[in-house]
């Protein structure tokens, strides 16, 4: 036994000694590693921050302002607006996020009373389109002139005119749908095609080329349960081919668009009916090229920024139709601080503020911006494509459906059903369109929803399918 104890003591000593030695050695190693790596990167980032501070220093104070907004309502986003985005504005802004109902009620009440507390409004195009005819919004044409150097696309300004010769809001932020492509697919682009200015014909040819070369259908659409495929029809395919959404729904031009999809479909991944967010099949490489909402492609670009390119959507005979979710800034007629309100709008559309907005709350700029180093590569990729798409010479914004109230779901169903019958079930296009047209018209009549861009103005009456 005693013999044993001696051995144990000796062993313990050896173990402790080796542990101590071991503890010493790695310390030396880690120190070396720390010295080597990220210092240079940190320097780069601080440089970028400096440029922003330089531009926004303005030596005036615009006093107190109340900004009512239906956008950026979640608490975290509202806090970002107050603490970060507005930090450099020379004035005190009270940012009040508000639900759509109370938002409209409050402005209507203030305008009726002829006395207001709100100075600036932030909302979606659809909100403003009902407020301008009610005489609640100022004409901002003069402000528009002074913001000419911002580079806000004409397409957006036109939409902000709400079918008049006045300008009722200043475009502020956008979200939209783009195309994401795996770089492996680029070598199959049709000859002579510019990947940033594709046509639908080229897009289909591209899908066919990939199919012929790989034997697989590698193009995808979000046709699953939660997928946003109906937006592709409402804001992209139908307007690009027919120049309208509702008025031209059943015409020959729209039929040509559906015919295109029928021709394209053999090269679309057959599992598309299970896809909700295209980022997943893109990352698993089930699919190489896909159309979807920027928020639903983001993971692909963020996870593998080197594998993917972000592209503008294809163009049809009537233009590069795309569905922007446009948020704008307006001034109610009862504003108390005109100079402050205009200065705030000018501040929010500065490229630097727009980049900060993108970084903090994820809405894309409406102006042309240089993306500094601190914006993640994925967001940068998406942002550049969004800007290219909105700024392309043939851009044709097709807005979110408006004025449908509770019938928005039925409206989407018309397009979904049309797709199911024509593309999946192979029914005759003209017959299906003629039948669905009746359903669509019933929805428009029931809600009395006037036409929205790019359909021509219906003068406040229910939009009519031709």
């Amino acid at each position: 036994m005693k013999h044993n104890q001696k051995w144990i003591a000796a062993l313990t000593f050896v173990v402790i000694a080796s542990l101590m030695l071991g503890a010493c050695q790695p310390q030396v190693v880690t120190q070396e590693v720390i010295k080597e790596v990220p210092v240079t990167q940190i320097v780069e980032v601080t440089k970028q921050v400096e440029t922003i501070v330089e531009v926004t220093a303005v030596p005036v104070n615009f006093g107190e302002l109340v900004w009512l907004s239906t956008q950026l309502r979640p608490v975290q986003e509202a806090e970002k607006v107050r603490g970060v985005i507005l930090a450099d504005f020379p004035g005190t802004v009270e940012f009040i996020p508000e639900d759509e109902g109370p938002f409209h009620d409050r402005i209507a009440a203030e305008v009726q009373a002829g006395k207001g507390t709100v100075d600036v409004l932030g909302a979606l195009h659809g909100n403003f389109s009902t407020m301008a005819p009610a005489g609640q919004l100022q004409d901002l044409s003069a402000l528009r002139e002074s913001l000419a150097d911002r580079g806000i696309p004409d397409a957006f300004w036109n939409v902000a005119q709400l079918n008049t010769d006045k300008t009722y809001y200043v475009p502020w932020m956008q979200a939209t749908y783009i195309v994401a492509a795996n770089k492996k697919a680029l070598e199959y682009l049709p000859a002579g095609a510019d990947m940033n200015a594709l046509t639908y014909e080229q897009y289909a040819q591209w899908a066919k080329n990939v199919f012929d070369a790989t034997g697989e259908a590698k193009f995808g659409f979000p046709a699953g349960e939660q997928g946003l495929l109906h937006r592709f029809f409402q804001g992209f395919l139908v307007p690009a081919y027919s120049g309208g959404v509702v008025t031209t729904f059943a015409g020959d031009d729209a039929a040509a668009g559906w015919q295109w999809l029928v021709g394209m479909w053999p090269y679309v991944h057959p599992q598309s009916t299970t896809y909700n967010f295209m980022q997943e099949p893109l990352l698993s490489e089930e699919v190489w090229v896909a159309w979807d909402h920027t928020a639903r492609l983001k993971d692909a670009f963020e996870t593998k920024p080197d594998d993917f390119v972000a592209l503008p959507v294809p163009a049809g005979p009537k233009g590069r139709a795309f569905m922007p979710v446009i948020a704008g800034l307006a001034i109610p007629v009862t504003s108390n601080n005109q100079a402050g309100a205009e200065a705030l709008i000018a501040y929010m559309t500065l490229p630097e503020t727009q980049v900060t907005t993108l970084r903090e709350v994820g809405f894309f700029p409406v102006v042309d911006v240089d993306y500094p180093g601190f914006v993640s590569p994925g967001v940068k990729l998406e942002g550049e494509a969004v800007t290219k798409q909105a700024g392309s010479p043939d851009a044709l914004p097709a807005l979110l459906p408006q004025g449908l109230g509770g019938k928005g779901g039925d409206f989407n169903k018309v397009f979904r059903d049309t797709f199911t019958r024509i593309v999946l079930n192979g029914e005759v296009i003209q017959t299906v369109l003629a039948e669905q047209k009746v359903v669509l018209q019933a929805i428009m009549n029931e809600t009395g929803a006037p036409c929205w861009a790019p359909d021509p103005d219906s003068g406040g009456k229910a939009c009519q399918v031709k």
């Binding site: 046709a223 057959p270 599992q271 909700n276 698993s284 089930e286 779901g409 199911t420």
Partner: protein, 286 residues
């Protein structure tokens, strides 16, 4: 009141809370939902929502697929469940362990089960990866294609069988345990084979349990929804999925209620059919 009166009333008083609970949270919403299917927007009653339902593009395929699913899934599940129940009852080594393993899917939510099976069957999923890895396939086989409703249905049946067979097994095990062992011993004495015992002793005595299990299973199969949605997306459609779409996506609660009412009528009809078809003959009632 006398203590005897009290004793007579006690069971009803004890039942009262659950009855009130069921009336408020089950019966009332059910009646309301049923009425919703017949209520016109401008007031009064209408059959318009049922017309919309029947005329809908998705109605016929949804109806067909739901019936097909029931026709396939119930026999498959009952054979499987009976085998499983007999295995558990056979008192083999580790038969207790079988029971626990079989019960695992019961603890997994319908949607989670659907997602698991989707991960198996999808283009770049486990099955395709394994098959291409072994060199059996050159490129992934697309099981979950809308062009391929056979495979879609197969995947849904498989997922649903995996998930819900053990419910039936549990009921059948309980039924088997109530069969007196003398009956089976007597059968052994007369030299009955295993097949004879199953066919002539076990199944007839299992009839009440089978009836319960069939009713439960058919009603649940009419409501199959999350599994199909997760596995097949919009590739195939079912009545319950259409009800969900009309309520959630198309925001038309009336037509959704019409679908729900149809599902309820089918449930009641199938229950009545089972009660009548599998009724226990008089002489067996003890």
């Amino acid at each position: 009141m006398t203590s005897r009166r009290w004793r007579q009333l006690t069971p009803y008083l004890l039942l009262l809370p659950s009855v009130i609970f069921l009336l408020i949270f089950f019966a009332y919403p059910m009646v309301e939902a049923f009425a919703l299917a017949f209520r016109a927007e401008e007031g009064g009653w209408t059959l318009k929502h049922f017309q919309t339902m029947v005329k809908d593009v998705a109605f016929a395929p949804a109806f067909r697929t739901t019936l097909l699913l029931i026709l396939i899934i119930i026999p498959v599940q009952f054979v499987l469940a009976l085998v499983m129940a007999l295995l558990v009852q056979a008192k083999l080594k580790f038969s207790g362990l079988f029971l626990y393993i079989y019960a695992i899917p019961l603890g997994i939510s319908e949607l989670a089960a659907g997602i698991v099976w989707f991960a198996l069957f999808t283009d770049r999923g486990y099955i395709n990866t394994a098959l291409t890895g072994l060199g059996i396939l050159d490129k992934p086989f697309i099981f979950l294609s809308y062009q391929n409703t056979g495979w879609l249905l197969f995947a849904v049946v498989l997922a649903e069988a995996w998930r819900a067979t053990s419910i039936i097994m549990v009921i059948l095990v309980a039924g088997l345990q109530s069969i007196p062992s003398e009956f089976l011993e007597a059968a052994d004495v007369f030299g009955a084979t295993l097949w004879d015992k199953v066919w002539r002793v076990i199944l007839p005595l299992l009839r009440p349990s089978l009836q319960v299990a069939l009713i439960l299973r058919t009603i649940l199969a009419l409501q199959v929804f999350a599994v199909a949605l997760a596995v097949a997306g919009r590739g195939i459609t079912l009545l319950a999925a259409e009800a969900y779409r009309w309520y959630g996506s198309y925001r038309n609660p009336n037509v959704a209620a019409a679908f729900a009412a149809l599902i309820m009528l089918l449930s009641i009809a199938s229950t009545a059919l089972y009660l009548w078809g599998l009724r226990t003959p008089e002489e067996q009632v003890r």
